[in-house]
Amino acid sequence: MEFLEFLVDRADDMLELGLEHAAVVGAAVLISTVIGVALGIATYRSERARETVLAITGSFLTIPSFALFILLLGPLGLGWRPVLLALVMYGLMPVVRNTITGLREVDPAVIESAKGMGLNRRQQLLRIELPLAWPVIITGVRVTTLVLLGIAAIGAIVNGPGYGELIFTGLARVGTPVAVNLVLAGAVGVMVLAVLFDLVFYAVQRITTPRGIR
C-alpha cells in the first residue's frame, strides 16, 4: 500500500505528466489520421500507388523508436518536437492500411447505385464510401493510439513529455526504495490513459458511425 501513498503524494505530478502524455499522443493521432486518410483516399484505386505508400509508411514502423528519436534529435532538438513527429510517423501505416482496406471493401453495387443517382466522384466519396469505410478506419486509429501511448514513454530519452520521465528517473535510482514506485507509477499512468483513450474512442466510434451500419 506504500505505492498508493506514493501516488497520492505525487498526485499533482501524475496529473501533469498524464496531461502532457495525452496531449502529445492525441495530437500525433489526430495528425496521422488526417494525413493517413488522405493518403489512403489518394492511393486506394491504383495497386502500384497503394503498395508504394504502404511500403514507405510500413518501413517507418520498422525503425526502432529509440533510433528514430535520436535521428530526429538533430534536426528538431530536445523536447516534444521529435516525439510528436516520431509518433505521427508510427501512426501513419495502420491508418493508411485500414483506410485502404475499408474503402476497397465497399460493395461495388452500392457505388454503382450512387453513380446511378447522379452523385459525382466527390459526393460518392464523402457521402457513400467514407461513411461505409469509417468503422474500419476508426478501429485502426483506436488500436494505433494504444501502441503510440506505449512508444511515447520512450520519448523521455529526448526529454519528451509524459510518464516516461518517471520510468527513467526510476531507472537512475535503481537500488533505492523509491525506484520501484517511480517505474510502477509511470506504467500505471500509461495504462490508465490507455483505458481512458479506449473509452473515448468507443464513444467516438458509436457517435460517428452512421446509424444504418452500426
Binding site: 510500413g58 533510433a67 535520436i70 535521428l71 490507455a194 479506449d198
Partner: protein
C-alpha cells in the same frame, strides 16, 4: 452480412503492428530495391564518419571491433527472443481459439489489445528495479513479454479467419479434431502466422535497442555511449545502424514470407 463475419473482420483490424507484405510475388527487381537503399545509407554514413576528425572518445566507440560486438549481441538477442516468443505464443494461440474459449475470446482479445499500450521500457526497467534482474536473461524475459501480445493476436486472428465451411467439410470427410487442426486449420493459417513471425522479429529488433539500460548490450550501447558522452556522431552511427538492421531483418523476413507461403494460398 452475418454478425460473426463482421466481428471477425474487426478482429483482423486490431493487429496494427503487422508489417505489410506485398500482395503478389515481386519480380527480381522488386527484391533489390531495399538492399540497394540500405547499402547507399551505409555508404553515406561511412563516408560521413571517415571525413571527420574523431576525438579519442568517439574513436573508442566507433571502431569495427566494438560495432561488430554490439551488432552480434543485438542479433542474438532478437533471434533468441523471437524463438522463445513463438514457442510460447503459437501453441497458446491455438489453445485460445479452441471452441471451449468461445465465450471469453472477445474479452481476451480486448485485454491483449489494451496490453499493447504497456511501455516496453517499463517492463524492462521494472525487471531491473523490482527484482534486480539484469543482463541477457532479463532482456529475453522483457522482450518476450512484450512481443508475445502481437504474435498471440496474430495467431488467434489467423486461425479464426479460416473458413468454417472448409473445417465442416473436413469433419464431414471423417477427420478427427486433431486432424482438422493439423491438416486444415494450421496450414490455412500459415500466412497469418508467418506475418506473426515477422512481427515478432521486427518488434524484438526494436526493443533490443532498449536492453542496454539493463546491461544486456546490443546496438543501444552505442547510442547510449553517444548520449552519455554527448557525442552526436556516435549517437547517429548507433541509430542509423539500428534502423538499417531492423529494415534489413524485416526485408529478409518478408522474403521468407513470400517463399514459405503454401502454394495455392
Amino acid at each position: 452480412m452475418s454478425i460473426s463475419t463482421s466481428e471477425r473482420r474487426r478482429d483482423a483490424d486490431v493487429v496494427t503492428q503487422t508489417p505489410v507484405s506485398a500482395g503478389r510475388r515481386r519480380g527480381w527487381q522488386g527484391y533489390l530495391v531495399m538492399p540497394a537503399i540500405l547499402a547507399l545509407i551505409l555508404l553515406a554514413l561511412y563516408l560521413w564518419v571517415s571525413s571527420m576528425e574523431l576525438d579519442s572518445i568517439e574513436a573508442r566507440s566507433l571502431n569495427a571491433q566494438s560495432l561488430l560486438t554490439a551488432l552480434g549481441e543485438h542479433i542474438v538477442l532478437a533471434a533468441v527472443s523471437t524463438v522463445v516468443t513463438l514457442v510460447i505464443a503459437v501453441p497458446l494461440g491455438v489453445l485460445l481459439t479452441r471452441p471451449f474459449t468461445q465465450r471469453v475470446r472477445p474479452f481476451i482479445i480486448g485485454v491483449l489489445t489494451l496490453g499493447q499500450a504497456v511501455p516496453t521500457i517499463a517492463i524492462l526497467v521494472l525487471l531491473a528495479v523490482a527484482f534486480l534482474f539484469l543482463g541477457f536473461q532479463a532482456a529475453i524475459v522483457g522482450l518476450v513479454l512484450y512481443a508475445i501480445i502481437p504474435v498471440l493476436l496474430n495467431t488467434m486472428v489467423g486461425l479464426e479467419q479460416v473458413d468454417e465451411n472448409v473445417l465442416e467439410a473436413g469433419r464431414g470427410m471423417g477427420m478427427s479434431k486433431g486432424r482438422v487442426l493439423t491438416r486444415l486449420e494450421l496450414p490455412l493459417a500459415v500466412p497469418v502466422m508467418l506475418a506473426g513471425v515477422r512481427t515478432a522479429l521486427v518488434i524484438n529488433v526494436g526493443t533490443a535497442t532498449l536492453v542496454t539500460y539493463i546491461n544486456a548490450g546490443g546496438l543501444g550501447d552505442i547510442i547510449v555511449a553517444g548520449l552519455s558522452t554527448n557525442r552526436v556522431v556516435v549517437q547517429i552511427v548507433g541509430a542509423v545502424l539500428t534502423a538499417v538492421l531492423a529494415l534489413f531483418i524485416d526485408y529478409l523476413a518478408g522474403i521468407a514470407e513470400d517463399f514459405l507461403r503454401p502454394k495455392g494460398l
